[in-house]
Amino acid sequence: MIFGYLDPGSGSLILQAVIGGLAGLGIAIKAFRAKHGMGRSKVDPDLGEDSAVEDTTLSAES
């Protein structure tokens, strides 16, 4: 992953999806849940976040 020299602020990054509209809201919730391990199935916090995303049933269309 390429990091910029600027701290973009995590909340501000997710907020962009929220501002983007309904589709973005779904993406924001998905990313937020992945971050917090709040998918419907239990996710080991030590495992990669990708597993949590896959377990999250909310999608951009929901």
Binding site: M1, L6, S10, G24, K30, A31
Partner: protein, 451 residues
Amino acid sequence: MKSPDPGSFRDPASQVVLDDDKVLRLLDQRGLEGWRALSASDFFEPAVADARLIGAVEVDPPPGTVAALEHPRLPFISYPYEWTFSMLKDAALLQLDILKAALLSGLTMKDATPYNIQFVEGRPIFIDIGSFEAYRAGEPWIGYRQFTRQFLFPLMLRAWVGVPFQPWLRGDLEGLTPAQMAHLLGRKKRFNTGALFHVRLQARMEARMSGRAVRENLRTAGFTPELILANVRKLRSLVSSLEWENTDDGWSDYGSCSHVGRDRATKSEFLQSALERFRPGRVLDLGANDGHFSTIAAASRAHAIAVDSDEAVLDDLYRRSAGLNLAVVLTDLVNPSPAQGWAGKERSAVIDRARPDLVIAYGVIHHLTYGASIPPREVVAWLRSFHCPVVVEFVAPGDEMVARLIGNKLPHELHGDREEHQFRALLDHLFETTDERQLSSTRVLFALAPR
């Protein structure tokens, strides 16, 4: 001789170096990839041709550098805390337009700071070629938070709260935080969606999510550039809606004062003759007000720097300055913007940036001596510190404007050396008078060359 620009060190991929009259940008491998993506895009050439984006040509890189670009040198660099409301607003709109055009060409931008924008002939121009890089699928807009902190919130502060943004931007170079802006707004704009999302919700989310890495989660969740474009569209409409009630802070009706019209023709002619005698490349107009004399200097092929502390008159001057070789600088001569930032050098003092060949000090020194209580001796020494010729207007104690400036001060509370013969003696120590003109019974013009 090469010297790194003290304001260009944060981005390791792209650093600006000043080499005599040249401005070079040194790129590492990642910076070179960004430049290749930008220069190959269909966005680059039209933006340069339209003077929205600074030009750049590849030149031989110095040893140890992957690649180097050369930019045209700008006549004057100003900072956002020296801009008027309309300048910051125009700069914000340019930043959004450039980002939109970049995204549509498959590029994105690493940051969104007003320090990447300058003003040339009354129009904003984007100068940081190093900001661009190829868009990577799923990436959000990294500069969004910075955009709100350094463009949007300062404009909101002026438009919605009625407080000038310049002291805040000068005090904190990173701008206002979402939490600060939320406090400043208080219960104002409760039903405004821009305030709700960009200020209040951003403040809440920042508090909740600080320190967590989410870029990869957003990518996996399906983030698209269309979401950035939607945000940019909404921000553009929000910024466009922000207006400042350009109220009179005291001097915007200055042109209508009785002495001004009477003296203006003589002062213009006196300045014209100084411009012909000294042929300056750069003219610093102290207390420029409506820019009448700066405009005369600019017409003489000099680059004029119009400095004043009154935002209303300068905002008006800026909006009239398209096509003029004139920089508008909002700063208080009694407290001009200092050198500051990292190591005290990142942003330089406005006086050091001016480098004038001629100084105009019309209608200003009595404001310093009577209004700000600066001793006349100090004022003359300060004029000498520019190391160049000066045209100055002396105003004697009996003048109507002096009475207004003295206000409630008692005679013993004023500095000495206020009479004309005393002022002449102060000048004689440091300057040679090359020309003088009696303007009225209380006003005299002097053209001075440093001794």
